[in-house]
């Protein structure tokens, strides 16, 4: 069973919900090693996306949804995460341009393109204690699952699980990008907020796929 526009819009709704629920936690994480706005930024962005969702054309395809997320995040989030997540969704949209239904290859391509977009803009490497440390393992897990013939849902599940491990892996690290890098050793022991929101978004993607499958 491939994933279509309904999955994409469900993902957006689930993302907005999970970000709103975790707004304070993301603020707290960012206050510890950043400037305390990450939860507010993401919540502002996804609330704006949600408000625009109804305006989508009836014949919208998943790429249209992803592009709406991209442009809305770019124009409402600000901060580091706005352009980074915005570029991620923009590149993801480009990776599945024209396709009404997304198969396993498309799902894996979305994640890879998103990750590559973030690296292109932010130049972070693995271990820099950024959202990339959640995206990298997610992309690898998705690719591996797809190579093993997994379903779209299984691919997204694998990605979300890997992202969760990736987010946790940022805790012992010293940061080399973003505001946390100013802290030196004092960043040790704190989870990167962008990695945490990455895992929330990818978990929402998998959950939406599960709902689609169960209907």
């Amino acid at each position: 069973m491939t994933l279509g526009t309904e999955w994409a819009t469900d993902w957006v709704r689930a993302s907005a919900a999970v970000i709103a629920e975790n707004r304070v936690e993301l603020i707290t994480l960012d206050r510890e090693i950043g400037d305390g706005d990450h939860g507010e930024n993401m919540d502002r962005g996804f609330s704006a996306v949600l408000a625009k969702l109804d305006g989508l054309a009836d014949d919208a395809i998943p790429a249209d949804v992803l592009k709406l997320v991209a442009t809305t995040l770019i124009s409402t989030v600000g901060g580091a995460s706005g352009p980074l997540f915005g570029t991620a969704y923009l590149k993801a949209a480009g990776a599945v341009a024209g396709r009404a239904e997304l198969d396993g290859a498309s799902v894996a391509a979305i994640l890879r393109a998103a990750r590559d977009g973030i690296v292109l803009r932010g130049k972070a490497e693995a271990g820099d204690k950024t959202m990339i440390d959640a995206w990298n393992p997610a992309v690898e897990a998705a690719d591996a699952a797809h190579a093993n013939g997994a379903s779209e849902l299984e691919i997204l599940e694998a990605a979300a699980t890997a992202a969760a491990e990736g987010a946790a892996s940022t805790e012992p690290l010293i940061a080399r990008k973003g505001r946390a890098s100013y802290l030196g050793e004092r960043a040790i022991g704190h989870r990167d907020p962008g990695a945490q929101s990455t895992l929330l978004l990818l978990r929402a993607a998998a959950d939406s796929a599960r709902n689609a499958a169960s209907e």
């Binding site: 400037d35 901060g79 505001r179 890098s181």
Partner: protein, 332 residues
């Protein structure tokens, strides 16, 4: 959290509205997208824009006006603005001779201004960008996002603004802005944290006898906590790394900026100024221009930063040139 605000979500828009109303002779506000622009823009000079998260007032809106910025783009509190208002401000001030973006070196600011510059260029505006990164508290830029832009930004804005006002080309304005950035170094200390309205809790914790050395201007913790010390000792602790960095040397003429973080009583800033000027004099460094006050703040944070800018005749002349903004005004 105790603040004189209404809904935390409206802090920036209401403050910008109030600011524009109080200074209607100098600026007007565009509401959507949100930016502040000189009432007489565009003019036939190079345009200069800056922007960044709110909470650092008077930076940047307080520096819009004759001889300084043409527009300022405020983001949410401590959050860089998105590209849309930056593009709108850029096209609003472009009088055909191009626009300089003065951007503090934070990932968010750099990325959003980068996108905006691309979009504005696509609309035919000649855009240059100068990234300000004067904060010596951030070392080893190989392993970090690089030095932050802090209070030295005000000096870049004033001097580049004066160059644009006298009619310099975009190349020349950009060059002088880069020169100021290359010659200014800063470092800060916090006695108390600040509370971001939407966060509702202090940005970091300090014991009653602790201070935080090397803080940024976004309520982010600094590099180290130390015990509270006499003002003179704190001044020396900040000034040492500043002097050693360029390094400043005997015979240099400098501008000394003692910048309050927002909640520091003025007497304390002048006590710090007094000793900083003496320490510089002892090293043979002559303070020929001074600025003391709240210029680049972190909401209600108590603390200060010191900035030292190496002057030459050109920079001195541009510093002294008339300026008419809400927060900096002389000569007219």
């Amino acid at each position: 959290m105790k603040k004189l605000i209404n809904d935390p979500k409206n802090v920036v828009t209401e403050a910008v509205e109030g600011f524009a109303a109080a200074h209607a002779d100098i600026v007007r506000a565009s509401a959507d997208p949100l930016f502040l622009v000189r009432t007489d823009a565009p003019s036939d000079k190079v345009g200069i824009i800056s922007g960044g998260g709110s909470g650092h007032e008077p930076l940047h809106g307080g520096f819009v006006g004759y001889g300084m910025l043409d527009a300022a783009v405020p983001g949410a509190v401590f959050t860089s603005p998105t590209p849309d208002p930056i593009v709108a401000a850029t096209t609003a001030v472009d009088g055909g001779r191009g626009v300089l973006h003065i951007v503090k070196n934070y990932t968010g600011d750099v990325l959003n201004f980068e996108t905006a510059a691309d979009l504005a260029a696509a609309e035919g505006v000649d855009v240059r960008t100068v990234i300000v990164n004067d904060d010596v508290a951030v070392q080893d830029s190989l392993y970090t996002a690089g030095r932050r832009g802090v209070a030295g930004t005000v000096l870049v804005e004033k001097i580049a603004g004066a160059a644009a006002q006298r009619g310099d080309s975009l190349d020349d304005v950009t060059a002088v802005a880069e020169k100021v950035n290359a010659q200014v170094r800063s470092m800060g200390v916090a006695l108390t944290p600040c509370v971001v309205p939407h966060a509702g809790e202090p940005s970091f914790h300090l014991e009653d006898d602790e201070i935080e050395i090397g803080i940024g201007i976004h309520g982010e913790p600094g590099r180290e906590k130390i015990k509270l010390q006499p003002a003179d000792a704190i001044v020396e602790r900040l000034l040492g790394p500043i002097i050693d960095d360029i390094p400043f040397a005997s015979g240099d003429r400098v501008l000394l900026l003692v910048n309050g973080m927002g909640g520091t009583p003025q007497v304390e800033l002048f006590i710090a100024y007094r000793h900083a000027a003496r320490v510089l004099a002892d090293r043979g460094i002559e303070v020929t221009r001074s600025l003391v006050g709240n210029y680049t703040t972190s909401l209600e944070m108590q603390g200060m930063s010191l900035s030292v800018l190496k002057l030459d005749d050109e920079l001195t002349e541009l510093w002294d040139a008339p300026v008419q903004t809400a927060a900096l005004r002389w000569g007219r």
